[in-house]
Every structure is written in structure tokens, then in C-alpha cells.
Symmetry: C2
Subunit: 174 residues, 2 copies
């Protein structure tokens, strides 16, 4: 599927509601669960998505749209949420994410991007030249990838509890 602004936004605007439906009100047994040391719980993932709203998607889109002399993105801090989520409840993080995503989408819609502007490029610190269209497609895929991750992390908590059914659940050993 080619990236299309309308089809991309319909996914982006659903993510806060999806996270809320999946996670709000769950006991910590579920939202603090991980796949092992150094891996992320659903709680950590929500903090990561918040950090993305603040420093990644819209800020990088701005760098591209500005077309200044320096179009190199600031490297994304994949561990910022471990600091920034400190002391916050899951409910607070879900609210914060919903609010930030709404602002991000208001900004994105306000730009009324044309195909020509979607083709503008910036410089990723590791990947090199990337287009605005690719950045926005990645934003969508990144949301979906983390929804899949949270469901997988939770499913794995029952790896032993399912007994012989584990054979039918490849997600347990992914």
C-alpha cells in the first residue's frame, strides 16, 4: 500500500483509544510485565510513544518542511521514557499520550501537505536521506508495531499457563 495522508491519519488517531482500551485499569501484573531483563513492558512502551510525540515525528517533519541548510534529525532517545515516566501512573501516561497525539494530528492536518511536499527530504543520522512521506508512513507502522509488541508481551505471561496449547501459539516463542 502506498502511503496516503488520509489512510495514515485514520490509524494514528485510533492509537490512543486502542491503548486505552487495552491497558486502562489493568493491574500492574499485566502492564509492568516484560519479555525478560532489558525488555519493555506496556507501561514503558506508552512512555516511549509519548517521547516520540514530543521529539520525533512532528519535530522531524518540521525539519524536513523547513528545508534549512541543516536537515539532519536529532537522534531519537530510545530510553528517555525510563526517566520521563518516573512517578507517573499508567492512566496519566495514557492521558498525556492522547493529548499529545491530538496536538500532533492537528499540526499535521494544518499543513495540508501536497504530494510535492511529501516528497521533500531530511537526513536521518543513520539511514541517510529519507522523505517526509516515509517518515509519516513509519509513524503509522511504529504505532502498530508497538501495539503488536504490547499484546505479545502480555500473551507471553501465560506461556506456561497454556500448557500443551503453546504449540498452537507461535507468539509465545517469538
Amino acid at each position: 500500500m502506498d502511503f496516503d495522508l488520509t489512510n495514515g491519519i485514520v490509524v494514528l488517531e485510533r492509537t490512543p483509544r486502542t491503548l486505552r482500551a487495552m491497558l486502562a485499569g489493568l493491574p500492574a501484573d499485566w502492564f509492568d510485565a516484560t519479555e525478560g531483563p532489558g525488555t519493555w513492558s506496556p507501561y514503558v512502551v506508552v512512555g516511549h510513544l509519548i517521547h516520540g510525540e514530543r521529539t520525533d515525528w512532528i519535530p522531524r517533519a518540521r525539519i524536513i518542511l523547513d528545508q534549512g541548510t541543516n536537515r539532519r534529525f536529532t537522534p531519537f532517545d530510545r530510553f528517555a521514557q525510563l526517566r520521563e515516566s518516573e512517578g507517573k501512573s499508567l492512566g496519566e501516561l495514557l492521558d498525556e499520550f492522547a493529548r499529545l497525539r491530538e496536538e500532533s494530528l492537528a499540526t499535521l492536518r494544518g499543513w495540508k501537505l501536497t504530494d510535492a511536499r511529501l516528497a521533500l527530504e531530511g537526513e536521518h543520522p543513520e539511514l541517510g536521506a529519507v522523505s517526509l512521506r516515509q517518515l509519516l508512513a513509519t509513524w503509522v507502522a511504529h504505532d502498530l508495531s508497538h501495539i503488536a509488541q504490547m499484546a505479545r508481551v502480555m500473551a507471553k505471561q501465560y506461556r506456561d499457563a497454556v500448557g500443551p496449547w503453546r504449540t498452537y501459539l507461535p507468539i509465545m516463542d517469538r
Copy 2:
């Protein structure tokens, strides 16, 4: 994590809302998308979950709880939804699933299962002896596994659109 009725139910009761948040109102480009021939779209998965409510989880739990002479489960038809969803809109399927899941959970709660009854066994046609506790844990994990699948199937539609970011998105090649 050991299976625990309360912790299992908090996940099971969220699934209809999660599916609605992710899928309701999406264009068919997204909900009919697959990972290739013979693989399932989010639309097909919702039909599969409906069939599970009708013929798998609660019916099998009943067979176990009855402790009759024949405790062998009826094999689950993994393709029934291709027939049964015919002519139904995604919205209709989401409503149907929500209604059936609510009924299933009312039944489950009504049983007020003790540890002793959770340890009762039935016979899976392929896996052999399985306990009620394992069946219920599998129900939860099965929901989560299909949520992860739907997010993955959708993410993959942007496999090419994300350009060089594909390297950072292992979900694209899973």
C-alpha cells in the same frame, strides 16, 4: 504468571473494546489487508474470534465441567468464519463479537470456579489431556495473539512505504 480467573477476565473483557478502537470505521484498505494469499485480514480475524465464542471456549469449558464419560472436544473449525461472516459488515461483526463475549463472561463469572474445578480435565482431539485452567489461559493468550496479528498485518501494508526505516521495524519481516 500463573493463570488467575480475575486477571484473565480483565483481559478478556477488554478485547471487544480494543478491536473496536483499532478497527471500527477504518476503510477496507486496512481491514481487508492480509500478509499474502491464504493469510487473514483483520476482518477475517474478527469472524474467527466470533466463531471461538460460539463453539470453542465456553462449550469446551462446559464439556470439562460436566465430567461426562466423553470429555473429548469437538475439533475447532479454523475456517468457519469465511462462511459465517459472509455479507456482514465489519461493524456488525464487532457488535456481534462484543455481545457474544459479554455472554461468555457472564457464564464464566456465574460458575464461580474454585481451584479444584479449574484443575478438572477434558480431552483435546490433538493435544490430549488439558485442564480447564489451561483452556482459560489459552483463551486470554489467543485474544492477545490475534490483536498482535491484526496490528502486524496492518503494519506490513507499509513495508515499502517506510523506505529505509524497514531496518528498524522487524515486524515488517516477521
